[in-house]
Symmetry: C2
Subunit: 231 residues, 2 copies
């Protein structure tokens, strides 16, 4: 796994593409682009954390796993998102590509030196950390206190807010098991839930990896727990 990572890193070329699009989005200087195939590992729980990343393209799932294989997905990272920031020591989770993915990799030390000096780098970093904390808090409420149907509503609302639509449909690159492990459900419950949401007119599923949101307001109400009769 570490080997795979190293291989990917050595194949990559130096680039400044990260800076070319928007200045405020990439204040971390030059980085190395890594490309990952579906299910390839970016880093694993226990690895030493030598780099952090920004997603350029694709989607990454980050998760922790228990000894018996139970898995909790912590986040799905999308283009623009930062990933793999660690204070010190080893990785606390594993990150894998869900589809073909490109990330820009920055050496951690590169950041440490600059963060001290550059206010803009510092602010960017703070914003990323606070954002992560905020996300985690919402995730906690969902996992701890929402019903299966509310969880699905929450997931779809979040997805709709964070990703761009393709002629009326949202891409659903992760499979049902990924969604289940993100929401603290079984994949059968996810599948049944999607079917029910479809029957009730909340959404439509052109295929398993595509959703159209038919009634966003109602879905959002469901996600907030305002729909008592959501079997």
């Amino acid at each position: 796994m570490l080997a795979m990572h190293s291989a990917a890193e050595s194949k990559a070329r130096r680039t400044n593409e990260a800076n070319s699009k928007e200045e405020t989005e990439a204040p971390f200087g030059l980085g190395v682009v890594l490309r990952l195939k579906p299910n390839e590992t970016l880093f694993s729980e226990g690895d030493a954390a030598a780099s952090f990343y920004q997603i350029k393209e694709g989607v990454i799932r980050s998760f922790r796993m228990m000894i018996d294989g139970r898995r909790q997905i912590i986040s799905f990272s999308q283009p623009g998102d930062y990933l793999g920031l660690e204070w010190e020591g080893d990785r606390a989770m594993t990150a894998e590509a869900i589809i073909d993915t490109a990330v820009v990799s920055y050496p951690r030390r590169h950041l440490e030196g600059r963060a001290t000096a550059d206010v803009r780098v510092q602010n960017r970093m703070m914003a990323v950390l606070f954002g992560g904390l905020h996300n985690a808090q919402e995730h906690l409420v969902m996992l701890g206190r929402q019903t299966a149907m509310e969880k699905l509503g929450w997931f779809l609302v979040r997805l709709a807010r964070s990703s761009r639509m393709n002629n009326g449909a949202l891409a659903l690159p992760m499979n049902r098991t990924d969604i289940a492990d993100y929401l603290g459900l079984s994949m059968e419950t996810v599948s049944r839930g999607f079917s029910l949401l479809t029957r009730e007119g909340y959404i439509a599923l052109p295929d398993a990896h595509q959703v159209c949101i038919r009634n966003f307001k109602r879905l959002d109400a469901l996600a907030r727990g305002e729909v008592p009769t959501a079997h």
Copy 2:
């Protein structure tokens, strides 16, 4: 609620006690001490975030609540812990004292100016944020993927690690409902769980607000999901 907070703040006096104990623990300069009675509110969801805090004494519960009253406790903050750091805008959660509590309050603006300048303040802040993120991740796994008994084991192990023992017993200042809302359970399940842990020799409960851990290793194994037959 905001009024109550203001009242508490105005009663408080200027102090430097925060600095007197350990220098590295309080790099944020002078602060104002606030004292809270059980169930008093430090700040509420929706308030403007003007300050952040460090607990001196006591315990604070921070939570988010859904419209229909379902509550998820995000953290129990203990002496030394920081609380109420927000990037900008309004509070995302409510913080209440569980027992008599003293906190040192720092104006947020006070931090912003210094963080830019002082590397040590910056590092302290990063450490707090990364620590919060790490805690939240463990909390997510627990909520999403552990059984009721494992959750209780996890809670007790965490408590044991974060608080000092009083002649063989840990203080359990929060009530069963607080514990339930922290672990994503009902308070009956918490109560039954404690009874079972007692019967099985993991712990002893001298009274409802006191735990003795009888077999830490076994409790830790339970918390990690390594005890398959934990009804």
